[in-house]
């Protein structure tokens, strides 16, 4: 419950302030969001599994975001940014789907 509250506060804050993202960081924001999404669903699944741990969640969140953005950054420098970001999205997408499937099993027992 308190987590949902935190999420709401964050969303509202983002809309109200609506930071202007610097041009250099702009390409990495969407990939960072997807990575964060993965960490959030992972945390949710762990919570439903009953093995949620705050520290693990925080660390996985930060490292996911940083590594995803870093991979795309390096790819951009090497000229394969588009392909690498596709790879990152594929991996994260698979993880999100399987996590969501596990969450669904917990919630609907199906």
């Amino acid at each position: 419950m308190i987590a949902v509250l935190g999420l709401l506060v964050g969303v509202v804050l983002g809309f109200v302030v609506s930071w202007d993202v610097p041009l250099g960081v702009e390409p990495y924001l969407p990939i960072a969001v997807v990575a964060a999404l993965d960490a959030v669903f992972g945390g949710l699944r762990a919570y439903l599994d009953g093995i949620f741990d705050d520290k693990v969640f925080v660390v996985s969140f930060l490292s996911n975001v940083v590594i995803a953005a870093g991979i795309v950054y390096v790819g951009d420098r090497l000229g394969v940014g588009g392909q690498l970001s596709t790879g990152v999205i594929v991996v994260l997408g698979i993880r999100i789907f399987s996590n969501v499937a596990a969450i669904r099993r917990h919630l609907f027992h199906a």
Binding site: V12, L13, V21, A46, D53, V58
Partner: protein
Amino acid sequence: MPDLPPRVTMPLLTLITQQSLDEDYRIAAERRELGTPAPKGPGSRRVALVVIAVFGVLVSTAFVQNTLSEDTENAGRNALIMRINNQRDRVDALQADIADLRETNADLTDQLTATTEAEQAADTRLRRLQVRTGFVAVHGPGVVLTVDNAPDADPLQEVVRDSDLAMLVDGLWSAGAEAIAINNQRLTAMSAIRNSGVPIEVNGVGIAPPYTVLAIGDNRTMLARFVNSSGGLNFDALVQRFGFTLEMDNDDDLSLPAAPQRFLRLRDASAGTAADQSPKEEEAGP
């Protein structure tokens, strides 16, 4: 072959699917069960809350940013489309200009052709007038008439007179002569044949018998027409009456000089412009 860990031998997709939940959660849970409970203060809970809030900020920022940049891209696109349309209009206008200019060009070419034709006609006319009026020396086929007094003529009564020669010349003109000279004096519109005493003057220059009349024209028909013309008939009567000698010959290449300079200058008349000349206008014959 040494035993490799499953994470090395496992296909990539299977690995990703199996490890979709971070292993750390499981490891941390196992560690907790082993009896070393991690210190779970309210602090770490708060950190997780902050991270969730950060996630919310990330999502909303990305959304807002994406919407904004979409607007910018659309604006750029619209500007480009507008520029394309403007340039297209310009190209259309220029092409219309080209068509107009081409039409003008064709009109001007037609005008040029017409003008050139008129110029050629005027040129031809000028040359014909110059020939007829003695402005230029000419040569061509024609006839030679040689007139002389009778050998025993009375020098006061029975010689060739100015009016006789004028009659002869009239006959030649009507027979189709284009240029006439008497004893190398070219006849023009202003030439006079007149007596000054007994001798005859042409163009103010006295000439003596025998009188050689050169006439340029179609020498296949000119003599016959001359003989049948009134001038020719009258002159023939004079020849019979006074015993003049008259020799008529064809010549294929006669040369006639131009009239003397003073006959070629227009003293009172001024030249007309091209507009004054219409094709129907009578050419001034001498």
